[in-house]
Amino acid sequence: MTTRIIVLAALTLFLAIHPPAWAEPYPSTYTPMTSSPVLIVNATILTGTGERIDNGSLLLSNGRIVSVSAATDSIDAGDAEVIDAQGRWLTPGLIDVHSHLGVYASPDIDAHSDGNEATAPSTAEVWAEHSVWPHDPGFNRALAGGVTALQILPGSANLIGGRGVTLKNVRSNSYQGMKFPAAPHGLKMACGENPKRVYGERKQAPSTRMGNVAGYRAQWVEAQKYIQDWETYENRKNGKRNDRNDRNGESKVPKRDLRLETLAGVLKGEILVHMHCYRADEMMTILDMAKEFGYRVSAFHHGVEAYKIAAELAETGVCGALWADWWGFKAEAYDGIQENIAIVDRPEGGCAIVHSDSDEGIQRLNQEAAKAMSRGQRAGMDIPPERAIRWITANPAKSMGILDQTGTLEPGKMADVVLWNGDPFSVYAKADQVFIDGALVFDRADASRQPVSDFELGQQLGAAK
């Protein structure tokens, strides 16, 4: 009863914002799997806050992290199951800020191509979650690689591709059952070659980089007007005059527009911008555009040239979500270097993220981070594992607006944890156990804790034994 009143109150508040944000219409129905308390002892712990604890203990209970400590003796673990992690490492659950699992699902057939609504340069009205196929076998492979949360984004064909969704890497028959509770939406935008190629080939705008920028700006202008129209309407409804010539009581309800609703959400700081952008000069243009319209870019994705503007990115607090070594597949990826992540991470306030954009890479975010770490070290930068682990935990969580809930091992946070068989920064490392909200969702040694997608069930029964 009390809960319902609180919910209603919250809803009323929510609706009072101009224009109405319309209460979350496809809400999360996620409930954690059942769990019982677990105490992991004798582990090498990388907390995700930049700290390393040798011979540490971690207590998980009721889906939350209860304590992270250097010694076992001071912990009141009650009846918790004790796991001896001698020689093993503990990290926060890995987080991928850039995935197309579910929207470009395996098998990669035409019927599963649901990631790019490449029919208009701005499709801010589409939501990636409405394309997610929860039975993509890629989710389970990513889980075996320690991924506990991921953002599913639309592709990069459009200037404005649509909303992204943050999921917990749990199994369900709906994306709502995977949806990360209270995570903000992302908005996928794209610079450079892809939009200008896709639309230029159709002899329509944009066909150039300047056309790209004109295209985004026109959208923001519309969004500003949309916000204003709703404000005007609300003001009149409440008996306020908008200006001297304004007459009260003569306003029509503005028409609801799904595209502008998303863009307005960005301008009001409710939706986080994730911008596909390779070249340094283009990223600088986008930073100015964000200033022009008063919004923030949460992260530049791919940013193959981010190392050229590491200082500027750190100064504006924009993260670089990057690959360890991809390059050369197109002109804007020609200047890729293997030290990109380390250089973006270097300045005070730098925020480097290792992202995948790949159903293979997402399975090995730890290896990708290991490559980037060692290349930085070889170039003379001091990057211990406790620093590098942030690239695949805390930093992506920050860029997705979920750092207050996950991404580090700190008391009170969601118990999203990976127990590795050794140093995770190794090609030989494997996730022994993965916990999401304290529940054991993957166990390498126990087939009963290894989910299998509907698609893969019974695929090779035809073969003679």
Partner: protein, 415 residues
């Protein structure tokens, strides 16, 4: 074969004279010989005139030798970069800089990518400073099921550094069915017809598949020619073996996602497999059986394996693929063999190639640590007996942008 290897080796020798007369000495290494000597500790390597002269403990460095102190670091033969478009592709999305495929749906086995090879491609230094000294130029993704011909190449930057015999590439399976009237059954039908035409005197008609040049080219493979079949599904792999048997070809399977299912048949036929060591998803209906222990199962069954990737620019990632195969059950030395001696044998580079020993070509890598570990790197690459400059366009960009707050714009920093 079509190009006699002896002739082209002679041409290569004329061009790459830089290594001649040079002596190089590696002191105190952990040498993975990949030959009968297995792993040798505290061992020295003497290289003269581009060849490995001796390998053993306590050798004396000649006075004129360029000496490298290995300090116990691992040393291996140069790694194989897989089947790539190295020197055929600069920027994948830029058609004008891509020469690895013939955009025609006619069967043109006479198409030979080696004539497009450009040793000055930036991809070559980027790849070789990571410990990869050779690759196979492939023509496997062309417009028709016969991709054309390619050949192994040393990444030493010379114009004619081709190695071994010319190879034919055939692409069969679901993803190639559009090239053959929608059915993979038609692929074998067309390939059989092409083999019948090859070397025959049948007059050209609208029904013949091959040009006159194509017949001659294909005829060159008819007895013991090496044909690389890009194929993933188990049943298609067996069809490739049958086809090779019918036409007395020497088959190599590339892709081989489901090869583990027919490991015994492959072992019995002595057919090697080049696999993508990171493939474990049902990416299409030819790859439903993808699994990370494919390499381990094939090796256990006695199949000779090597690794190949999907992308030329990412060839350096093969090291990681091999490491993952080892993490999934492939014995460690078998993982190293799959990067060195196995591909050298598969592509017939010659006696001793892919090993450190017995007068083999001195293509050697000194590693910072475990060569299959992602946190290791190649510290020094030796090609044709010469320590190469460990520089690529990428290291120059790195060195331009590493300094913080430079006085002048970075365009003035020329590392």
């Amino acid at each position: 074969m079509i190009l006699k290897p002896i002739i082209s080796m002679a041409v290569a020798a004329l061009i790459s004279t830089s290594a001649w007369g040079e002596t190089l000495f590696i002191n105190d290494a952990t040498v993975h010989t990949m030959g009968s000597q297995a792993v040798l500790h505290d061992t020295d390597i003497l290289v003269r005139d581009g060849r490995i002269q001796s390998v053993g403990p306590g050798l004396n460095a000649p006075a004129d030798a360029f000496v490298i102190e290995a300090n116990g670091r691992p040393v291996t033969p140069g790694f194989f970069a897989g089947i790539t478009g190295m020197g055929l592709v600069e920027i994948s999305a830029d058609d004008l800089s891509v020469d690895s495929a013939l955009e025609s749906d006619r069967l043109r086995p006479e198409f030979n990518v080696t004539t497009a090879y450009n040793p000055h491609s930036t991809v070559i230094p980027v790849t070789r400073i990571e410990g990869f000294t050779w690759s196979v130029l492939g023509a496997s993704r062309s417009g028709s099921i016969i991709g054309g011909q390619g050949r192994a190449v040393s990444l030493d930057g010379n114009y004619q550094s081709f190695l071994g015999d010319t190879l034919l590439f055939i692409d069969v399976g679901g993803d190639a069915s559009g090239q053959s009237a929608g059915s993979r059954a038609a692929q074998w039908m067309l390939l059989d017809q092409a083999m019948t035409e090859a070397g025959s005197e049948v007059r050209w008609s609208p029904e013949t598949l091959l040009t006159v040049a194509g017949r001659t080219a294909l005829a060159g493979y008819k007895i013991e020619g090496t044909v690389v079949f890009h194929v993933d599904r188990a049943s298609d792999i067996l069809q490739a073996l049958h086809f090779a048997g019918r036409h007395q070809l020497n088959p190599v399977i590339s892709g081989g996602t489901e090869a583990w299912m027919v490991a015994d048949q492959l072992a019995e036929a002595g057919v090697p497999v080049l696999i993508n060591g990171l493939s474990n998803l049902p990416a299409n209906f030819d790859m439903l059986g993808a699994r990370l222990d494919n390499a381990a199962i094939l090796h256990e069954a006695g199949v000779t394996i090597a690794f190949t990737g999907e992308d030329t620019h990412e060839a350096r990632k093969l090291r990681q693929a091999a490491g993952n195969a080892v993490a999934n059950g492939l014995p460690y030395e078998a993982g190293l063999a799959a990067m060195t001696i196995n591909p050298a044998r598969i592509f017939d580079l010659g006696e001793g190639q892919g090993t450190i020993g017995g007068n083999s070509r001195a293509d050697i890598v000194i590693w910072s640590g475990d060569p299959l570990e992602v946190t290791s790197a190649a510290d020094q690459v030796i090609l044709n007996g010469k320590a190469i400059e460990m520089v690529s366009r990428q290291t120059l960009l790195r060195d331009r942008y590493l300094p913080e707050n430079p006085e002048l714009p970075r365009a003035y920093i020329k590392p």
